[in-house]
């Protein structure tokens, strides 16, 4: 009976004194902080500081040289919860809110592909900035924005993630000194130039 009591008392004494021994420093390595969203970290803003008004995740972002020799920024994202029509409408509205306006009606095209060769419908829409509407050939196209949306093969209205979108944007300079801007985990600007598997499921993008 004596031994357990003594052990308990000793343990209590150690515990009561323990704050004087210092503090353990867990590394937290197994729960890294979640980096801020690529469009919320202030690093590479959208034209007009547009905010995308739909549940989205940026998957990759980076600059490419088009066939015509122009530099363009391509941003690939996934959208959740809403269907392709609504996703396109919301993306268009997000840019309209900062003064861009659609050029012509939304277009629709069949894109084959997906891992199982499923045919998915690609919706697209182009927008222009206010000054570009009347501009003739040779005028700067820097505020032209292209939006393309397609469901991800194998998803259904019950799936949380529904599809992917590709934004065709003017090249954006880095706009912040934040350390996040150097971290691909946040900016999704992968050194290799994007995720494997093509920019948009279906391959039309």
């Amino acid at each position: 009976m004596v031994v357990p009591v003594l052990v308990t008392l000793a343990a209590l004494a150690v515990l009561l004194a323990s704050h004087a021994f210092g503090r353990a420093q867990p590394t937290g390595d197994y729960r890294p902080p979640l980096p801020p969203d690529a469009l919320g970290n202030g690093c590479y803003p959208l034209p007009g500081d547009a905010r995308l008004d739909l549940p989205y995740q940026v998957r990759s972002d980076g600059d490419v040289t088009t066939d015509g020799g122009d530099q363009r920024r391509l941003l690939l994202g996934h959208y959740s919860v809403v269907d392709a029509d609504e996703a396109l409408a919301r993306l268009v509205a997000s840019f309209e809110a900062v003064g861009l306006h659609p050029v012509g009606p939304p277009r629709s095209a069949e894109g084959s592909g997906g891992p199982d060769g499923e045919v998915t419908e690609h919706l697209s829409q182009r927008l222009r900035g206010p000054g570009d509407a009347a501009a003739g050939p040779g005028s700067p196209t820097s505020t032209v924005v292209g939006i393309e949306v397609a469901p991800i093969a194998g998803t259904s209205p019950d799936t949380l993630v529904r599809g992917a979108f590709l934004l065709d944007l003017p090249v954006t300079e880095r706009a912040s000194d934040s350390a996040w801007c150097d971290l691909p985990a946040s900016t999704k600007r992968w050194p290799e130039g994007g995720l494997a598997g093509g920019p948009l499921p279906g391959g039309a993008g």
């Binding site: 009561l16 323990s18 390595d29 197994y30 549940p55 199982d116 991800i152 799936t159 949380l160 499921p201």
Partner: protein
């Protein structure tokens, strides 16, 4: 019989059995002492190989959990508010691990907050020795000295197990406590056979053992549930009248102890991850990681399956952390918990899984679970690896592990498809051990497996293997009891029917599952 492939096994079994019967073996308690000494010596020999090793992979999470829990104790006893954020990040983290090993490590960090790696190794080695000795004592009391001897010999003298006994992984300790739990269940069944309800203390112990196993290794939950069902079913079948009500009360007590001790974890993990988390959250992503598009061991090193993140995951991270980040981003974007997001990802990536792919991966998992028992000798090493002598030591440890482990594995596999009949007591032990092993081996069907997983089932392998040897010896010496075995009471008659039926079902199920997986994989 003489020409049977089992002739060698039979010779060993008969010789051992006669030596025991003739008193030519040392008394079990003397043998126990020698084996414990040998185990301690083996630990001292292995210690130099592992003492300089920094935390390896998941060990980091357990060690950080221990540090955070020590700070919690510090704060509670200094009457200050605990650092909830630190606890959430380091104890719950992503809900991947139960906090049992963090609890084991916390006392070290209470006393030495900045304990260096070598001290963590020494401390863990000491704790595992203490748990082994306690388990040996508990098994000795419930199953007798020979089973205590067996527990020290296997896994205690398996070098690969000894390496793991210096790590922050909960697998070896969970295995020891699971062996005690099985012994405890056997002891309770012995009481049921006499028509007697277990006492309150036995109920308390049942609940405590079950929750301790679960805290150390969440994947052992299947075995814990199986043991609970065995006790429940046998008590209701065997115990009658007022004793049955008492038995029901005692089992309810065990269940309450289990639930009350699980509740703080479930509550805190659920609160942290904003979803219902009972034990851990790993199953959806591990299912997808294991069985998703184009799975395989080679790929596990490269990255997660191509469809897990509704397409490729971020290329800068590992198969576990890349999907986690996607799930957290998805949760943030779609306003759901990361647990729900992981389920959605898993469902999506597994929708095209074929039975062939599944069966192949199960085979790989079973192989990793059972066939590379010494691998951790190469994982637990100083940064930069060992020199020539240390590397030789690692090879020796891994090789010696195979030598000790392989015969036990083969005998265990033989036991799984054998129906022993030598005595009712032996049958009961056999059924309970096989149920526990079978429940543990569910894991390779849902989770990628690794070379430390066998340690949770290891002590039970030894019991099953020796059971097979004893059965062979009994059959060779024609001391087999007629089937069904003689019943000494109406309870025994009933129990005998049940065990025989269960044994046949288990052997049949083992063969069926094995054949089905093999056929589907080809």
């Amino acid at each position: 019989m003489r020409r049977s492939p089992l002739a060698a096994v039979d010779r060993v079994a008969v010789r051992l059995d006669r030596a025991r019967a003739d008193g030519r073996l040392p008394r079990p308690d003397v043998l126990l002492g020698w084996l414990v000494a040998a185990h301690v010596l083996l630990k001292l020999l292995v210690l130099p190989l592992v003492i300089g090793a920094p935390p390896y992979n998941d060990e980091q999470a357990y060690v950080d959990g221990g540090r955070a829990l020590s700070n919690l104790l510090r704060d509670v006893f200094a009457f200050t508010a605990p650092d909830t954020a630190e606890l959430e990040r380091n104890v719950v983290g992503s809900g991947w691990f139960m906090p049992g090993m963090a609890v084991v490590l916390a006392p070290l960090f209470v006393v030495v907050p900045e304990a260096p790696d070598w001290l963590i190794r020494v401390y863990l080695g000491g704790v595992s020795l203490a748990v082994l000795l306690l388990a040996v004592r508990a098994v000795r009391r419930r199953l007798g000295p020979w089973y205590a001897v067996l527990l020290v010999a296997f896994p205690g003298l398996v070098p690969g197990w000894v390496v793991l006994s210096f790590t922050a992984y909960g697998d070896p300790l969970a295995g020891l406590l699971l062996a005690v739990l099985v012994a405890h269940v056997i002891a309770m069944l012995r009481g049921f056979r006499a028509g007697v309800s277990p006492g309150v203390a036995e109920g308390l112990q049942l609940g405590l053992l079950a929750i301790a196993v679960l805290y150390l290794r969440s994947s052992a939950s299947t075995a814990v549930v199986a043991m609970g069902l065995v006790v429940l079913a046998t008590s209701m079948v065997l115990v009658r009248g007022r004793q049955r009500w008492r038995a029901a009360g005692v089992l309810a007590l065990a269940a309450v102890v289990f639930a009350v001790l699980l509740a703080p974890w479930s509550w805190f993990a659920s609160r942290t991850l904003d979803d219902r988390v009972v034990t851990t959250t790993t199953v959806p992503v591990s299912l997808a990681n294991t069985f998703g598009e184009d799975p395989g061991f080679g790929r596990m090193e490269e990255g997660p399956p191509d469809e897990l993140c509704f397409g490729p995951c971020d290329p800068d991270s590992t198969p576990w952390f890349a999907p986690l980040r996607y799930a957290r981003e998805l949760g943030r974007a779609a306003d759901v918990s990361e647990v729900e997001a992981q389920q959605a990802m898993s469902d999506y990536s597994l929708q095209d899984l074929t039975t062939t792919q599944y069966a192949r991966q199960v085979l790989q998992n079973v192989g990793a679970y059972l066939l590379i028992p010494g691998n951790f000798a190469f994982h637990i090493e100083p940064a930069g690896g060992h020199g020539l002598v240390g590397t030789a030591g690692q090879v020796l440890v891994a090789g010696a592990t195979y030598l000790v482990y392989a015969p036990v594995l083969l005998l265990m596999l033989a036991a799984m498809v054998t129906v022993p009949r030598r005595s009712l007591e032996a049958q009961v032990l056999d059924v309970v051990v096989k149920l526990a092993i079978g429940a543990l081996l569910v894991q390779p069907f849902v989770h990628v497996s690794g070379s430390r997983y066998w340690t949770t089932a290891g002590p039970l392998f030894a019991i099953a293997a020796v059971g097979f040897l004893l059965e062979r010896a009994a059959r060779r010496q024609d001391v087999v009891l007629e089937a069904p075995p003689r019943a000494s009471s109406p309870y025994d008659a009933r129990l005998s029917r049940w065990t025989l039926w269960t044994q046949r079902a288990l052997a049949g199920a083992t063969v069926t599952v094995a054949v089905a997986v093999l056929v589907l994989a080809v």
